[in-house]
Symmetry: C2
Subunit: 245 residues, 2 copies
């Protein structure tokens, strides 16, 4: 795969508990940072409730549009865990207990002298054609089907699965970024910054307001896949803003 290929992704967070505010999502930020670091551009995120029709509609819209879709949540043993069934419905394939997943769960529960009950066995149900993502934390695997990566919602387990699946992903040129911290509010540099963006259409430039030492300040962020162009854009912007190089 050539280095300049653009690989894109969406995240689909599945869970009533995020929409009710009961649980604060921590997975979006983790996945976003990770994908950026490995050269996959996260382009969209959706959060949907534990309702099959909603999951199917969102998943089908996203998987057709982006190179990958990463889902989190809804792969546990209880009745509200409907992600595997919804993914099977979206792909229009059957779902059944997967012997490999069953073996992983059996190993996990045997080691803890626990029985593989029907509720636990439910976590071995996987859409036909999926490859498993081993779960080193709590036994029940995630899976990959087509361009969709299905992961747990518990942040520690999600992170472990994301690391496990990473070597299997096609990645593109990593988006590099340079941050210029300035001690002025955005409004004082907006004209120069906007003109600079027009000169560098291949570099994405964003400005983020913040308080630094209690005073309005800004972070100017330049992003691009060509490090030399990025450095050039940075130096010219520093000169235009009369900042040290």
């Amino acid at each position: 795969m050539p280095d300049d290929k653009i690989v894109t992704a969406a995240v689909l967070v599945i869970g009533d508990e995020i929409l009710s505010g009961r649980t604060k999502d921590r997975n979006i930020g983790t996945i976003a940072t990770h994908l950026t670091s490995i050269g996959i551009q996260l382009r969209e995120v959706r959060v949907v409730p534990d309702v099959e029709a909603e999951i199917v509609t969102a998943l089908n819209a996203l998987r057709r549009r982006y190179s990958y879709v990463f889902t989190t949540g809804g792969i546990g043993p209880t009745h509200d865990d409907i992600t595997a069934d919804s993914v099977a419905a979206a792909f229009d394939v059957p779902i059944a207990v997967d012997p490999r997943a069953k073996a992983q769960l059996a190993t996990y529960y045997n080691a803890r002298k626990l029985e593989l009950t029907p509720a636990r066995l439910r976590m071995a149900r996987v859409p036909t054609g999926a490859e498993l993502i081993e779960n080193k934390v709590s036994g029940a695997p995630g899976f990959v089907i087509g361009n969709v990566v299905v992961m747990a919602g518990v942040p520690d387990i999600m992170q472990a699965m994301l690391e496990t699946v990473t070597p299997l992903l096609v990645t593109g040129a990593p988006l590099q970024s340079i941050t210029i911290e300035i001690d002025q509010p955005e409004s004082e540099i907006a004209a120069v910054f906007g003109a600079h963006q027009r000169r560098y259409p291949d570099i994405t430039m964003g400005s983020y307001p913040l308080l630094r030492h209690g005073q309005p300040a800004s972070d100017l962020v330049l992003r691009g896949i060509d490090p030399e162009r990025l450095k050039l854009a940075e130096l010219e912007l520093r000169a235009a803003l009369r900042l040290p190089k």
Copy 2:
């Protein structure tokens, strides 16, 4: 408005910085908790980049489907702040400097002995027909147009705007919730819990795994708008799980 009316909402987060992972979103959780507390059901969240076509498509999909859409981000003075223009495009209305917004900005900057430069004046551009949301923190107002509430992305400013706009919102019956903390993993209560959900289709029941004192445990959450039904469902579930009342 009758108390049992269902009022729904979506959140649209606008910002490359969330998708790149540079900034971790804190607004989704804040808005989710707030809406739940005032009787508005958050049904969907989307995060999109600073690209007008993406914002317009997402906004039009969401505003037609839910009672309200709350947007965050992209209302600052720099070239990458394109929310107001995108909202005007979605509603197909003109956008221009709003005299009321200009007056608010003039008051804010005059008090700080700063000039109302063209960059700052850009923050007074508002789609025709919008009502302003005063920004007590940093001057530049948010606005409401149709069923869309446009707010800043900086969490402190977003929260202040959300509080300002709350009295203007139509709200429904607040969703009440009861959490039962149990010291068992989900898989051990899944059968009883699933059967209980089938007996109470009007109560939404979710199970969330966690570690308590280092051991696998679960929070069982029951949600509904009728407090008496909710209490009944809780008592029966406690009995079925042989828990104290």
